[in-house]
Symmetry: C2
Subunit: 146 residues, 2 copies
Amino acid sequence: MALDLGPLDSHMGYLLRRAQLAVFADILPSLAEHDVSPADYAVLTVIDRNPGAGQSQVAETLGIQKTNFVPLIRRMEARGLVLRTPSARDRRSVALTLTDEGSALLGRLHAAAQAHIDRVRGHLGAAQYDALLEPLQRLASVSRPS
Amino acid sequence: MALDLGPLDSHMGYLLRRAQLAVFADILPSLAEHDVSPADYAVLTVIDRNPGAGQSQVAETLGIQKTNFVPLIRRMEARGLVLRTPSARDRRSVALTLTDEGSALLGRLHAAAQAHIDRVRGHLGAAQYDALLEPLQRLASVSRPS
DNA sequence: GTTTTTGGTTATTGAGGATAACTATTTTCC
DNA sequence: GGAAAATAGTTATCCTCAATAACCAAAAAC
């Protein structure tokens, strides 16, 4: 049924894409239950760890363009997960913080993510899983002017 | 500038996504010079290795839905890269083969891909690069009923 | 104090992937 | 042999992402 992939089966980009899709497919349903996308989850996590950070900082940290970040963060504000308070020292920027509801949701999301991680870790073996993390971090900086 | 990622910085899904985007960003311009997307490149490669295969087989092998595969393969046919010949034994299916022009282009694409692989391999170190391949293949089957 | 840069916004576009519904052929199976 | 189910391909449509351009207000640079 499955055809020969030729050189693709050892092509880093191709393997990364397939692996990423498979891993995302595993966590997606758990997040969707809470009506949250992977990007949403990442944004909540970063705001939680950096309360008061500005929109552009959060967006840039996650590799999201500020222009695409606007509707995303607005939806979260509308859902009551995030507070957007005008910054005192810089009247252009808005400081982002989680509401109590946002914090509570994030807690549930972390639990779901942990179950997902346990599955993937089990599939791969803990040692191999851990060994993967550092090289993947390094790969993320290919093509970036380091 | 960059904020704290919290648990994301060791989250497999997040790292895979960032790594995949970075690696794709590295090869994208080379492919774009030939007006070819990563998906196009994968399709040409698979047809080359499996001449005469049907559309759905190629699509399924690459994880592309047959419905989205139609415009893609039609564009390649229109460009004179691919031949779509009605199969003799199954009059529903079309057999895919590369034209000489498709073969020639694929040769140039493989060369560009090799240069890209060398870059990534250099960035990571050959040993670490090679060590990544197998676990990534395994990851691709998470969430699939093995 | 003018110029430049930065934080945020709007509007718009294009690519990728997903669903539904359909035709024509082949296969299954009673 | 013939009805029913499965398969190969197609069209049309939709939705989510990511990217571009143009803009305002405020701050920083010079």
